[in-house]
Assembly symmetry: C2
Homo-oligomer: 405 residues x 2
């Protein structure tokens, strides 16, 4: 055996064996060790309902130990799927049941499942520019080509989307998916107005591309409910709606779902390779939901995040007005700052690091070029006073980073 | 909006949009509704440590609600990774630490992560014939070509493996991975003898293919410890060892790991698209391990499964001796039955269904042809008396299905 233990595998051997795409992708995101993290899109820690979840876990285990602790199937725990279908039916007026729902390990995993099912190398996926970088990585990992459509303050622009779809058709290429965060976009915070939703739905139907409506932030409504969902507008056809408990209960549960027609759900289960997500976690969540605590909890979160958004907005106006402009988001976790003349995103992010603030340069959110005049600011993770302090520091970083021509 | 709700997406539209591989894969496995399930490789339900896990969940949440319920990073909870590294270091004598470990959502997900990282369309993955069908599906989903090597009662045959590797090299093709369940194989129950392990390690090093050592059943040792691991023989280089808590704690946790050099672990994290597995579940498991209950629990499981294996073996000798032959496995959950003259696997499975017994025809475990003279029998899920009854019924099914020439 001694010979083999010195068989001398080198890093170059490993490099040579990697799938090519594993060399090409951007790194996954990670948390910052800096004192003020305006970087990670994470919920408030103090409001996590951990006591209720501990009780729910105990009830789920006691009620059916074998069910909670044995493989639960690829689709996931049926009562939770039915609960999700009922909520969506009540919201949209569509007739839905649990056969419209599959449960995943977080919405990132949901997007991966969708990418696996519908994209093959060379297929086109349309996203906004900017958009959620996890989606870019995930689609690229399946060999998809990302075609981007610009976003303005109201989200995806419909004229460029129509042109992009037509150009792909003219080139004989198949646009499989149009990925959109219609409510409280990551990173822009934009909410797509109803008229754009109707136009997006029309274009997707005309070009027979599936819409992926990523609802990661839906529920974090800070100025009343968002416009009619794309899912409702499309009557549930030709669309996959991705929802999650990450922002309304806890990101650490890794529990989310995809809502789509039963035929699409069936196709998604074929492209699952994890033997299903955890039935224990799914049952724990269902026990928590059954208590009725969920809606009041979400209402409480809305209050917390509204206060944080407003604190961030006033601090920015007070401390950063000569450096940035922005629009006030109607929900979610993010402010998308446009940098005024003389500021560049990476330079600002570096200067912010010097004063203890983590903030994400806009380039992170672009599949290709772009974002050098934007940064994303997360207002969800810090309480108002700390947000104020962080943004005061950010103002100093802006002053330090500004280049006067 | 009315127009769009009748936009008339058809199943044919969805079919056209599917990734080609989503049409080609076999269906994922599912549980049987029959009274005697000798089909699903699941642990005994009565011995699931649900009370201890409920307490562990409460402790994990109370000790650090924010840590348990917020994204935990792609690698996973460091103390659990360190625990796994220490166990493997103690077993193998190698110097290992947490940078050698990444946590996944079950070992099926671990295999998917490995497939994503190392295989591109056209790459070759070597597996046994037969082998675990989940592995076949997962590698094929990434476009890999499966090259099979026959298995005998001692597992993978080394002569054919050497020939297969040489043939691929001669054809100028890259063998990326050799997938093997060296301990208590699924489906054959075979344990690879030490001399074959040494030869396998030598061949993998010579051809610079990575070994995937799937240890799903390791720990379920029914006749003492298994031979030296491939991981130890290879000094930890050029190998990915996949371990799981599924069979020793609970399949419903969906918690497993990959052990490999830090360079390989880093590559694996690039090809994760789930924002990490659940830190809550990882911390719950760690709290359970900390109590010291794990080793006595595994010892108890060994006793339970030994009794079931022995019950299945005597029932088979008593009731099915004129229909099947088999070797007695040293561990794991499975008996691999060879059918005597006049019996065919699918016909027997159908006849078994008639008498209330679910059993898996051997064809399920072959990437190509084969398996018509085998069935897999799971002895882990049923207590001895029920196993005896099920196998009595199976004997009737054998009599009914036998074709006399």
């Amino acid at each position: 055996m001694g010979d083999l233990t010195t068989s001398g595998w080198t890093d170059a051997d490993i490099e040579r064996l990697l799938a090519p795409v594993a060399r090409e992708l951007a790194a996954p995101t990670s948390l910052s060790p800096l004192p003020y993290d305006l970087n990670a899109g994470v919920p408030d820690r103090a409001s996590l309902p951990w006591r209720e979840l501990a009780e729910a876990a105990a009830r789920a285990l006691e009620a059916d130990p074998g069910g909670a602790l044995t493989y639960g199937g690829t689709l996931g725990y049926e009562p939770l799927r039915a609960w999700i279908a009922e909520r969506n039916a009540a919201e949209t007026g569509l007739e839905l049941n649990s056969s419209w729902v599959t449960l995943t390990s977080g919405s990132a995993h949901a997007i991966d499942n969708i990418a696996a099912t519908f994209t093959a190398p060379g297929d086109v996926v349309v996203t906004g520019a900017p958009t959620y970088p996890g989606a870019i990585r995930t689609f690229r990992a399946r060999g998809a080509e990302i075609v981007t459509v610009p976003q303005d303050g109201d989200g995806l622009e419909m004229g460029p989307l129509a042109s992009a779809l037509e150009a792909q058709r003219a080139a004989g290429r198949s646009v499989k998916l149009i990925y959109v965060v219609a409510n409280y976009d990551n990173p822009t915070g934009a909410t797509l107005p109803e008229e754009r939703r109707i136009e997006l739905a029309r274009l997707a139907a005309e070009y027979r591309a599936l819409i992926v409506e990523d609802d990661a932030y839906t529920g974090i409504d800070l100025d009343g409910p968002p416009p009619t969902s794309l899912f409702q507008i499309m009557g549930g056809e030709g669309i996959l709606r991705v929802g999650t408990f990450s922002k309304t209960i806890a990101t650490g549960l890794r529990s989310a779902w995809i809502l789509a027609t039963p035929r699409v759900i069936q196709a998604l289960t074929y492209m699952r390779f994890d033997n299903g997500a955890s039935p224990f976690v799914q049952r724990m969540i269902f026990e928590y939901l059954k208590t009725g605590a969920y809606d009041p909890h979400v209402a409480r979160l809305q209050g917390i995040y509204r206060e944080r958004r407003d604190a961030a907005v006033s601090a920015l106006r007070e401390r950063c007005d000569s450096f940035v402009t922005f629009e006030v988001p109607r929900g979610g976790f993010f402010l998308w700052l446009r940098l005024r003349e003389g500021l560049e995103a990476r330079a600002l992010a570096r200067a912010a690091t010097e004063v203890g603030v983590a903030i994400t340069p806009g380039q992170m959110y672009y599949a290709y070029e772009g974002g050098e005049r934007n940064v994303r600011l997360v207002f969800s993770a810090l309480p108002p006073e700390q947000l104020h302090d962080a943004i005061t520091q950010l103002g100093r970083a802006c002053a330090a980073a500004r280049v006067t021509p």
